[in-house]
């Protein structure tokens, strides 16, 4: 209840404005009084003044306090959505909500995590979701904060990861305290990211906020899952709840719809093609949405003895399963893409003759049947082109792949005859042999450059595996830039063993996603391991402080190749193409002179660190020592000077 004698902020501002106007209107009179006033003496206090100083103060009519700001109700609503954490860099436009969360809400469920950059907040949420399967509530200014956060939002969007973003914004001009708050106010905050979010709203009442808050969650969590944005207007946060709101506002019930499964006819047709195929290949994109997705994909692959080609967007399939990466689309007669965003690139190769990608040819045999199952067919935006090139397929099932797999598996089983089973068993034996050959080849390749300095990425992966293989580990980084060595050497078979990549390849994702994923792993007691690219860390290294401050156990091994190396290679490519200056590719791409000491950087943020390590023989002992720190619940970083890839 608000105190009886308190005024709403609107009333307070109105009174204050009137008082200020009166002061402005009387300057001449004031000057005249000053000019004519005699030398002051010390008058005796009046009876009123005595009463003020000695008696009980009268109730002030302009006191700006309330025991029920609107933000408290917002917290009630947001708590009903069961968020574990709030990731945010502080901002005045959501100060009311922040105060309500930490005091009224008790800073529990959700707990506030201090972030040093809004890009870090959202990327941490991205990583957290991939381990825990739960979205995070992020907060940011509707203007400058969102501008910082936008790349990370795009990454999450392209990676089909839900992030619940609340933007603070002061829409009413009378409530803006200064030029700062004018600069931080915006007419349509979500417009900046509307091209890569699924839904947004800017409620104008608390009841409206409640309904939109629950609606946003529901939309966000329905596949394809994407970030959503909800604006929290400043006056709604900071003003007391009105009497009308107290009577009518309620927390709506949340019901998230089940994920859409493929229609029975299409599923039956797909099963028919798969069972009849001599060389089917399953291509896994973001198929394993939950831990059950891995089991289902294994069951489908084993049922029809089809190899699984993993695009490494998620932990989809056990890496030492005999059907893992043992097939080839070039030999396939049926290729099924499961939540594959780049399916066209699975079935096509670009010729080296024209390296700009204008000349390409199919790499599948003529007559190969192509099938896709993806929720991507149910939702897309037009401006940003993450949907990829249009793929000519024979059967497109617009549905969530994981939700469709049970029906597809059953349909395949029903079609199995004795002959088909025998043929599949024979195929399975050959695929298992191929898998073993691939694995042996990978291990032999890892020997190349074993003793080299800088340290080879294969050596780094092998040394890491040697230390963590008997732990309950979780790799919380992408592997694109280390030649995928861990996946080639380690045994990945648990849902949290891998979190996939950036989504939109927006660099700066790696470090915060690792911290977010490690926070999710913390409650399960897992050892989180992050192979951290140097260029990526330099975007927002403050996330190291967040890890140290919140005691997030995370072992980060720097892949310090002292360059934005992908761009280094692109520049070399362009110079060769232009037939000039191939020796200049370091300009604008190398991160040298001076070399950055990441061990020193980590120490500055309060983290245990070691390195830089250039001798590969020093790496094993350094990892062992750092792991001891991580096991005690702290983050640690080892700077390793590495080969480029």
């Amino acid at each position: 209840m608000a105190k009886k004698n308190s005024l709403g902020r609107r009333g307070f501002l109105k009174g204050a404005a009137a008082g200020a106007a009166a002061l402005v209107a009387k300057p001449a009179a004031v000057k005249a009084q000053q000019a004519q006033a005699p030398r002051p003496t010390a008058p005796l206090p009046s009876a009123t003044q005595v009463a003020f100083e000695t008696g009980t103060p009268p109730a002030r009519v302009d006191a700006y306090t309330t025991d029920r700001p609107g933000a408290d109700f917002m917290v009630d609503v947001l708590k009903s959505l069961n968020f574990d954490y709030i990731f945010a860099n502080p901002g005045s436009s959501f100060r009311g909500l922040q105060e309500s969360f930490i005091n009224y809400g008790g800073n529990k469920a959700p707990e506030w995590i201090t972030c040093c950059h809004e890009e870090s907040s959202v990327a941490m949420a991205h990583g957290y979701y991939k381990i825990e399967g739960k979205p995070i509530l992020c907060m940011a200014h509707g203007t400058v904060g969102l501008q910082h956060a936008s790349m990370a939002i795009y990454n999450a969007y392209a990676d089909r990861v839900p992030v619940y973003l609340i933007l603070g914004n002061e829409q009413e001009i009378g409530f803006r305290r200064s030029d700062v708050e004018w600069a931080h106010a915006v007419q349509d905050a979500a417009s900046m990211v509307r091209d890569y979010t699924k839904w947004d709203d800017s409620p104008i009442s608390l009841g409206h906020f409640a309904e939109s808050a629950v609606r946003a969650y529901k939309i966000m969590m329905t596949p394809p899952m994407e970030p959503v944005v909800l604006c929290a207007n400043g006056f709604l946060q900071e003003e007391p709840m009105s009497a009308e709101d107290r009577r009518s506002a309620r927390v709506p019930k949340l019901v998230v719809p089940g994920p859409p499964a493929g229609d029975a006819g299409s599923v039956a047709e797909a099963a028919k093609m798969l069972v009849a195929a001599e060389n089917p290949v399953l291509v896994a994109g973001r198929v394993a949405r939950t831990p059950n997705g891995i089991k289902l994909l294994v069951e489908l692959a084993e049922t029809i003895q089809a190899p699984v080609m993993d695009r490494r967007f998620r932990m989809n399939f056990p890496t030492r399963h005999p059907l893992y990466n043992s097939g080839n689309v070039a030999n396939a007669d049926v290729v099924m893409g499961l939540e594959v965003p780049d399916f066209w690139f699975v079935t096509h190769g670009q010729t080296p003759i024209n390296r700009m990608g204008m000349e390409a040819k199919s790499i599948v045999k003529p007559g190969t049947r192509l099938i896709t199952i993806t929720a991507g067919d149910l939702f897309s935006r037009s401006n940003y082109q993450d949907f990829g090139r249009y793929a000519d397929v024979d059967l497109a099932i617009a549905a969530d792949a994981e939700a469709t797999l049970p029906a597809l598996i059953e349909a395949c089983k029903k079609l199995l005859t004795g002959d088909r089973k025998r043929a599949m068993e024979e195929r399975g034996k050959k695929l298992a042999e191929q898998h073993k050959k691939n694995r042996d080849s990978d291990i032999e390749q890892a020997a190349a450059g074993w003793d080299a300095s800088p340290v080879s990425t294969a050596r780094m992966a092998a040394e890491l595996w040697n230390q963590i293989q008997h732990e309950d580990w979780s790799l919380v980084s992408d592997l694109t830039f280390v030649s995928w060595w861990p996946q080639r050497l380690w045994q990945f078979d648990k849902p949290y063993h891998f979190i996939g990549g950036h989504g939109a390849y927006g660099i700066g994702y790696g470090a915060p996603a690792a911290v977010g994923a490690a926070l999710a792993n913390k409650k399960h007691g897992r050892i989180s391991v992050n192979i951290q690219c140097d260029g990526d860390l330099n975007y927002a290294p403050g996330v190291l402080w967040t890890a140290a401050h919140h005691r997030i156990p995370l072992l980060s091994i720097m892949h310090n190749n002292r360059a934005y190396h992908q761009e280094y290679m692109f520049l070399e490519d362009m110079a060769a193409r232009a037939t000039r200056g191939i020796e200049n590719a370091h300009i604008g791409t190398a991160i040298k002179d001076p070399n950055i000491n990441y061990a020193t950087m980590a120490k500055a943020y309060g983290m245990y660190s070691a390195g830089p390590i250039e001798n590969p023989n020093d790496l094993g002992p350094a990892i062992k020592a750092a792991l001891e720190v991580v096991k005690k619940g702290e983050p640690a970083l080892i700077d390793v000077v590495t080969q480029p890839r």
């Binding site: 080296p352 390296r355 042996d440 291990i443 032999e444 390749q445 890892a446 020997a447 190349a448 450059g449 074993w450 080299a452 800088p454 080879s456 990425t457 294969a458 092998a462 040394e463 595996w465 040697n466 694109t480 830039f481 030649s483 995928w484 050497l489 045994q491 190396h565 280094y568 290679m569 070399e572 490519d573 110079a575 060769a576 193409r577 037939t579 000039r580 200056g581 191939i582 020796e583 590719a585 080969q643 480029p644 890839r645």
Partner: protein, 119 residues
């Protein structure tokens, strides 16, 4: 093998031998300098060990002429390097350097990798 094929194969071997005999001698020290300056290491690694973006070229099995031919008209993702940016002599020097790089050990001789083989 038919006689005609044998003759063709023998002729090819002779021609390769002639080409090799006529190939300019390589300077491995200069080759190392060029390997680093011209960015071969970017895709193939400082040790020529190869990786995601380039093949292993340490102790290459190609002869100098073979390397030059490949660099001028590569397959896959490698860009073509013309005579203008890397002369035949420079590529020969790089080839000489690559021949000095050690071939990888067998995985069975590296305890960590041998352990992996047995997992």
């Amino acid at each position: 093998m038919k006689l005609a094929s044998l003759i063709v194969t023998a002729a090819a071997l002779i021609l390769t031998g002639v080409a090799a005999a006529q190939a300019p001698a390589g300077n491995a020290d200069n080759g190392k300098r060029l390997f680093l300056r011209d960015g071969c290491w970017e895709c193939h690694g400082y040790a020529g060990q190869g990786g995601r973006d380039g093949a292993r070229i340490a102790a290459t099995a190609l002869n100098a002429q073979g390397l030059i031919r490949y660099v001028r008209r590569p397959a896959g993702a490698m860009p073509a390097f013309t005579e203008k940016v890397a002369t035949d002599q420079e590529l020969t020097d790089i080839w000489s350097y690559l021949k000095t790089l050690p071939a990888p050990k067998a995985a069975k001789d590296i305890p960590l990798l041998n352990q992996l083989k047995n997992q």
